[in-house]
Symmetry: D2
Subunit: 463 residues, 4 copies
C-alpha cells in the first residue's frame, strides 16, 4: 500500500474519454488498481463506471435493477459491508450512487442502441479485486509507480482492474462510432467474480435474457505474451465453493476427554475424506481444502479437546454432472465426518458456477477480427481454460436460449501468476482487447447469418 | 478488562505485612489478578515478590541466578517479550528489577534461616497467569469488584495469583516467628507453570539441590469446598507439549495440483494418527491436539493447495515410561504424516514435566497439621491429580536425592472450572493454605525423624 | 494334529474316579485337549462331563434346560454346527446326549445336596477350545506326548481343558466326602467363553439365580508359577465384540470409478476412527480391530473398486459405563465411515461381558483356605485381571442378588502365552486347584456368617 | 466348471484348418475357453498354438527364445506353477512342449515369409485367462453349451480365448494365400496380459525389434455391437500394479497394546492416503486398492493387535509422466503409512505398462480395409481406451524405432462386462477380426509409402 486515502477524496475520476485511448486505458486501470475493492463492495468502482458510462451517453442501470438479491452468493457480513462502504466514501465514492450500490448491489449494465435491435450483443467485464496484500517490493511496478493497492487485504491480482478499463474503453469507442453501430450492444460490469459469486445474481436479474451473442475476456490466461489471443476458451470447469463449521464440545483432555466432542478431529477426517473422493469416469475432477482452523491458538489450550473447526473448500468438474457428483460426495463426506465424531456441522455454498465452452463458430468470428488488429500476431482458435470463472453462468444461460458465447483470452506476460502478491500484466494488452472486441462486434451482424446457426432470429431494421 | 493501566503507574505494591493477614492476602491476590502476566513475562509480579520478601527480611535471589537459560521451554518470541516488558513497566514494574528479570528470567527464590540448617524445607508457588480473556459478565466477581485482568489475553484462571499471595503470606508468618523457626526454609516462586515450561529451568539452576522436604499447593483441584484439603496428590501425569510446523508448497488446485505439497493434509493425517496411538498396558495415556491451522483464511484462497499448517499438541502418561512411549509414537506419527504428503516439518518441545506422586509419609505430617487448623473440616490423605503440573520436576529431583515431597490440595468452590473465562475461587482458601503450610513446617523437624526415612541426614544444631 | 479320529471312536471316557486324583486329572485333561471343541460345539466334551457327573452321583441338567437360546451370542452358522456335530460323533460323542446338546446347547449344570441348602455355593468352569492350530514342534509337549489337538482349527490354548478337568476332579472329591458336605454345591460347565459368548445365556436360563457364593478359576493368568495363587482377581474388563460388513458396489477403477461405492475405503476409515476414539476420564479403555478383509484377493481384481469389506473388532472398559461409551462411539464411527463412502453396513454384537471385581471378603476366605494347601507357597489377595472373561456375567448377577463372587487365579508356568500355538501349562496346577476349591467350599459356611455381609440369609438346617 | 478333465486327456486339438473358417474359429475358441489357463501358466494353450502354427507351415519360436526371464513380472510362486503344469498335462498338454514352456515361458512367435521382407508386419494376440470363477447359471451360454471353464479360479472373462482363435484363424488365412503374401508377417502370442505382466518380457526378448507395422485387437471394448470397429484406440493408460506387505508385531490388545505394531492400521492409513493422492494438472490419473486383508480371520483373534496386512493396488495415468508421478506418490504414502505405525513393509511391482496411442495414419489404413469387410457397418477412426493393456509395451517400442502401431477394437455385444462371471461375447466377431486383420495386412505395403512416414525404409524385393 502507498499513499493516504485522503489524497484522493473528491478527486475527479480519470476520464476514459480524455486523450489517446492507450493512455486513458492505463490511467483508468491504475485508478481501479489503487482503490482495489473486493466482491460485493465495489462501491467506488461501480460508481465511477456509472458516471463514465452516463457521460458517454449509454443508458445505465445498476444496483438492485441488475442484481437479484436472493441469487447472490458469498456476500460478506454486514459489518464488513458497512466498514467497506465507509472506506469507499472516504476514497471518493459518489454518495448518491453509494446509497444504491451499498449492501452488495454493485453491478452495472449499460446499453447503446445500434441500427438494428438484433442480434443483441453483450460483453461482460468483472470488476472486483481479490483478497490478498500487494507486494511492496521496490521492483514491483504498481508499488514503484505509486498505484499499488491503498486498501489492506484487497489486491487486483487477477487483472479485473484491466478488464474494467477495457470495458470503459470499449464504451468510449462504441460511443464514438455510435452512428454506424449496426446493432444494440450491452455492457455488463459484474461484481464478485472471485469465488464465482456474482454472475448468477445478474443472470437471475435478467441481464442476459434477450442476448443473442455474448463475449467476455480475460487477461493473461493460457496466453502469456502480448500479441497472442485465444479466440474462445474451452473447458471452463464447473465449481462449487463451500464453507463448513464443525461444532462439538470442549473438555479437559486428561481429566474428561470422553466429555469432549472433537470438532477438529471431524475436520481432519473430512479433509482426508474429501481428497479421497473418487475420480469420475466421464471427466476431470478436482477437490481442494484451502483452509482449516480448529481449536484455540493459545499454547496452553492444547490441554482442551478442540470443540470447533472451520473448513473452506471447493470441488470442480469438467461437466456439470461431474461437478455435481463431486459436491454430492463432498457433502456426504462432511456430514459423516461430523457424525463420526459426534459433532454438529453447517455447510454453506458460497460460490457456484457451471461448466461451459465457447461456441467455436463465434470464436471463428473473433479469429477473423483478430487477423486485422495491429499488435496481434498469434491467434489460437481455442485453449483449455483448466480453471473456473463465473462468466460461465452467463454463457450457459445464453447458449440455453439459442445464443452464442465466447470467452476470449488476451495475452500478456505476467510478472507473477494470478492471485500472487507480485501479479502485474503488460498494459499494452488493454488496447488490443478494446480493438479486438470492437472489431468483433462490427463483424458479428454480417457473419452471424452465415456462421451462427440460430433458429428464426433475423434482425429487423429499426425505425 | 477494566480500568486503565495508567491508573496504577507507580502505585505502591499492596503490603502483605499491613493489617490482618486475611485481608492482606486478598488485597495482594487481587493486585496480581488485575495485572495478570503470562509465563516468562511476570516482570511486575516478580518485582513485587522480590521487594516484599526483601522488606520481610528474607535473603532473595532472582533472575539468571535461579533460572537456567538453556533449560527454559516455550519462551515467547523476542517481540512479545519486549512488548510485555513495556506493558509491565507501564503498570508500575520496578525498572531496576525489570532489567534483571526481563527476557524470560522471572523466577524468585528466598531463604530464611532457622535454628538448624536441616532438614531444609522448600515450598514452591507458581506465579504466572494463563492465556485467555477474562469474563466481563456483571456477575463475575473480579469484574464486578474491579480487579478483573487489565491485560488482554492474560487471565489468572488457574489460581496462581492466589498461590503467589499464599507464598507471600507464608513469608510474612514465618518472618514474624523467625526467632523460633526450627529449620531453614526456602520459598520458590516459579514462572511459566502453564504449559509446564518453567520448573525444569529452576531445577537446572540448582534451587532444589539440597532440599530435604518439599511442599507445594494448588487451589481447587479435586477438592472443591473450602475446608477440605488433600494432604498429598498422587498420579500427577507426565506430559510433553509440542508445536509442529508443516511446510509444503502451494499450487493452483485445478491447473497444477500435482505441483502442490499439501501441508494441511499432512496435519490432518497427523491429527488422526495421533489420536489413534495405541493405549499402553502399563498405565494411563492421553493425547490431544488443541489447535491446528493450515492454508490461507481468505475465502478465495480455497483454490490454492495449502502449503503450510501449524499443530499444537500434548501427550501424557501416568509414568514417565508411558509418557515417553506416547511422545516417541507422536513424533513418529508426525514425521511420517509429513513424509506421506511430501512436506517438511519441524517439531518443537515447548513444555515437559515428569510423573510424580506425593510421599505419603510426608502427606501424613500434612494431615496431622491440618487437624489443628481452624476452618479445615475434611482431610483426604490422597487423591489422584489426573492432570499435569510441573511442580513434579521439583518433586522428582528432590525424591531422587532422598528427600520427600508432597503436593497439597487446598479446597475451594470454583465459579467455573480452571482455565475458563469465569474462573474464580473462594479467597478464604488463602488463609487456610498459609496456616496449613506454616503448621506443617513447624511439625516437620520433629516428625521427620520418625516418619521420613532418610538415610543419614540428622539435623545438627547451628552454632 | 496327531493320530486319526477313528482311533478313538467309541473309546470309553477316561474315568476321573479311577486311580490317584493327580493322575486322573492329567488323563482327563489330555483327552479334552486332544479332542478340542470350539464354543457352542462342545458336544463330545459336554457329553463326557454329563456321563462322568452322573456316574459320580450328581444331579445333572444340560442342553436347553441350562442355556437360554435367545441369549446366546456368536453361535456359528448352521453348516459349521452340523459338520462339527458329525465330527464329534466320529470322535465318540454319545449320540443320545448329542441330540440334546447339538445346535449350540452344550452347557451342563450339576448339583450335590449338602447338609444345608444355604449358602448355596456354585463353581463355574469354562469348557471350550479356541480357534487356532496347535504347534507340531517336536518340543511342544502335547505334540510330543501325543495329545495335541486332533481337530484342525481348534486348540485348547487358554487352559479350559484344564478347567474342565478341575471341575470333574472337584466333582469326584465332593462326591467322595458327600456325607459331610455342609451345604449344597452346584457345578456349572459353561460353553463358549472364548469371545465372551456363553455365560449370559446360562445366566438367562437361571443357573445362578439362587446362588449365594460363587467361585471360578483360571490357570496361569497373572500368576505364572505353580504354587502361586490369586485369591480374587479385580478389574475384569467389560467387553463387547462385534462384526461389521460393509457393502458397496464395484466398478471399473479407471473407466467408471464414480460408479463404485468403496466398502474397503469405508473399512479403512472405520479402522482409523475406531483407534482414535477418545480415552475416558473415568477408567481404562481399549479398542482393537483384529481383522479386516476387503475387495477380491485375485491379483487382477485390483482394477475393481472393492465393494465389500469385513471388520472384526472389540472394545473394553474398566467399568460398564466406560465400556458402553466405547461401544456407543464405535457404532457411531462405523455408521459414519459407511455413510461417508456411501456404502451400507451391518453391525452384529457377537460377544459381550460386563466388568466385575471379586469380593475381597470372599477372597479372604480363599486365602485362608490356600494357607493350608500343600504346594501353595504364595497367595496374592488380589491382582488386576487386565482382560475379559465372561465369568463376570455370573459374578455380577450373583452380586446383584446380594451374593458374593471370587475369581481365583491358579498359578502355572506357561510354555508360551495364552492364545498362542505353543501354549501349554504345568499340570500340577490341576490338583492344587481342586484342593483349593474343595477347601474353600468347606470353609465358606462357617466363615460366611462372619465375613460375608449378606442381609438375612442364615442357612437353616435341612430336615 | 463342467465335465471332468480326464475326458480330454490326449484329445487332439481342434483343427483351425478344418471346415469353414467361421466354424473352426468357434471350435478353437471354445476349446481355449474350456481349458482356461492363467498368466504364465498357459502350457496347454501355448502348446496347441505351437502345433497348429507348425502344421500351417509357419516358423515357430517359443519359450525362453521369446520371453526374457528377468523382465517378467508377477510370475506365480513355484508351487502354483508346478500344480498348474500338472493340471495342463492332465488336460492334454503336449509333454515335450510343456518342458519348454513350463516355469513361466508360455510365449509363442511365428513368422511367415512374404515376397518382401519389409515393411515387417507384426500382429499380437494375448492368450491368458483371468482369475475368477465362471458363472454356472443355466442361461450362461458357455455353461449351457458345455464349454464353461473346467478350471476353478480361471476364467476367460476378457476375450483372450477369442483373441487366440483370431490369431490362429489369421495364421490359416495367411498360410492359405502364402504365395501372394506381399511382406513378412509375424504373429505374437503373448502370455500374462492380465495384470500387464507379460508384454515387457517379450519386448525384452527382442520379438518386436525389427517390426515396422504393428497391429493388435481387442473384442468388445468401447464398441459393443458386432459390425462396429474402432480403427485405432487412443489413450491407453499407463499403469503400475503393486503388492504390499506390512509386517508389525502382535500383542494382547488389552494387556499390552503398546507392544503391538499394527500392520492393519498401517494398511488402513495407506488406503486413505492412496485415494487422497492429488490429481495431476497434465492428465488423467487413477488409483485403486483392490484388496486388503490384515490380522487373523478367527473371531477370537480380535483381541490381538493385527501384525500383518496385505494390500494390492494400482495407479494409472494418461501419460507416462503422470503415471510415474502417481507411483512415486503411492510409494511415498505406503512407506510413511508403515513408518507412522512403526511397521516394516515390502512393495513389489507386479505389473507395469506404458501409455500409448494408436498411430492415426495406420488407423486410417485399418479404416480403409474395414470399409470392404462384409459384416462391418460402422467404423470409428478412434476412441479413448480409458483403461490399460500391456500391448502398449510393444506399441511404444515399435513407435520408438520409427514404426507404426494401431490397437483395433472389434465390436461385440457382451453378456456382461469384462472381468465378470457372466462375460461372453458374440462369436461372429471372430471372423470379422480375421478378415479385417488380413485385409489390413494386404493394404499396408502399398499404403505405407503414402501414409506412413518412415525415414528410409523402402521394402526391397526379395530374391
Amino acid at each position: 500500500m502507498s499513499g493516504s486515502p485522503a489524497d484522493h477524496r473528491n478527486a475527479l475520476p480519470p476520464a476514459i474519454a480524455d486523450g489517446p485511448l492507450d493512455e486513458s486505458l492505463v490511467r483508468v486501470r491504475r485508478d481501479f488498481h489503487r482503490f482495489a475493492e473486493r466482491g460485493w463492495m465495489e462501491v467506488r468502482t461501480a460508481g465511477r463506471i456509472i458516471r463514465t458510462l452516463e457521460a458517454l451517453g449509454w443508458d445505465v442501470e445498476y444496483g438492485r435493477a441488475v442484481i437479484d438479491a436472493d441469487a447472490r452468493m458469498g456476500v460478506p457480513p454486514d459489518d464488513t459491508l458497512a466498514s467497506e462502504l465507509q472506506r469507499a466514501l472516504d476514497q471518493g465514492a459518489d454518495p448518491d450512487l453509494a446509497a444504491e450500490l451499498q449492501g452488495g448491489f454493485t453491478g452495472v449494465v449499460a446499453t447503446l442502441r445500434g441500427r438494428h435491435p438484433r442480434p443483441l450483443i453483450a460483453v461482460r467485464f468483472d470488476i472486483d479485486a481479490n483478497n490478498g496484500d500487494e507486494s511492496s517490493a521496490a521492483d514491483h511496478r504498481p508499488f514503484a509507480d505509486g498505484f499499488a493497492s491503498a486498501n489492506e487485504g484487497a489486491h487486483h491480482n487477477c487483472g479485473h482492474d484491466g478488464h474494467t478499463a477495457i470495458g470503459l474503453g470499449l464504451a468510449r469507442v462504441l460511443a464514438e462510432r455510435r452512428d454506424t453501430l449496426p446493432v444494440d450492444v450491452r455492457l455488463i460490469f459484474q461484481p464478485a467474480e472471485e469465488g464465482v459469486r456474482g454472475a448468477a445474481a445478474m443472470v437471475a436479474a435478467g441481464v442476459v435474457k434477450d442476448v443473442d451473442v455474448f463475449l467476455g475476456c480475460h487477461i493473461g490466461f493460457q496466453a502469456q505474451r502480448v500479441g497472442h489471443v485465444i479466440a474462445g476458451y474451452r473447458n471452463l470447469l464447473a465449481s462449487t465453493k463451500f464453507d463448513v463449521e464443525f461444532t462439538g464440545r470442549t473438555a479437559h483432555a486428561a481429566m474428561a476427554p470422553h466429555e469432549g466432542r472433537n470438532g477438529l478431529l471431524a475436520a481432519a477426517t473430512a479433509v482426508q475424506g474429501l481428497y479421497a473422493i473418487s475420480r469420475h469416469g466421464d471427466g476431470e475432477t478436482h477437490v481442494n481444502v484451502g483452509y482449516v482452523t480448529g481449536g484455540e491458538p493459545r499454547g496452553e489450550a492444547r490441554n482442551a479437546i478442540p470443540a470447533r473447526a472451520t473448513l473452506r473448500g471447493e470441488v470442480r468438474g469438467s461437466t456439470n454432472a461431474v461437478a455435481d457428483y463431486m459436491f454430492r460426495r463432498a457433502r456426504q463426506v462432511i456430514e459423516h465426518a461430523a457424525g463420526m465424531h459426534d459433532v454438529e456441522f453447517s455447510l454453506d455454498v458460497v460460490g457456484r458456477s457451471p461448466a461451459a465452452n465457447s461456441d467455436q463458430a463465434l470464436a471463428a468470428i473473433v479469429s477473423t477480427a483478430a487477423a486485422e488488429i495491429p499488435g496481434i500476431d498469434e491467434v489460437s482458435q481455442s485453449a483449455d481454460f483448466h480453471a473456473s470463472d463465473d462468466v460461465t453462468a452467463m454463457m450457459v444461460a445464453i447458449q440455453a436460449q439459442g445464443g452464442h458465447a465466447a470467452y476470449v483470452g488476451i495475452g500478456s506476460r505476467l510478472d507473477s501468476g494470478h492471485h500472487t502478491p507480485r501479479f502485474d500484466f503488460d498494459e499494452r494488452a488493454l488496447r488490443i482487447a478494446v480493438d479486438l472486441l470492437a472489431s468483433t462486434i462490427d463483424l458479428i451482424p454480417a457473419e452471424s447469418a452465415a456462421r451462427l446457426a440460430r433458429p428464426g432470429a433475423p434482425g429487423s431494421a429499426r425505425g
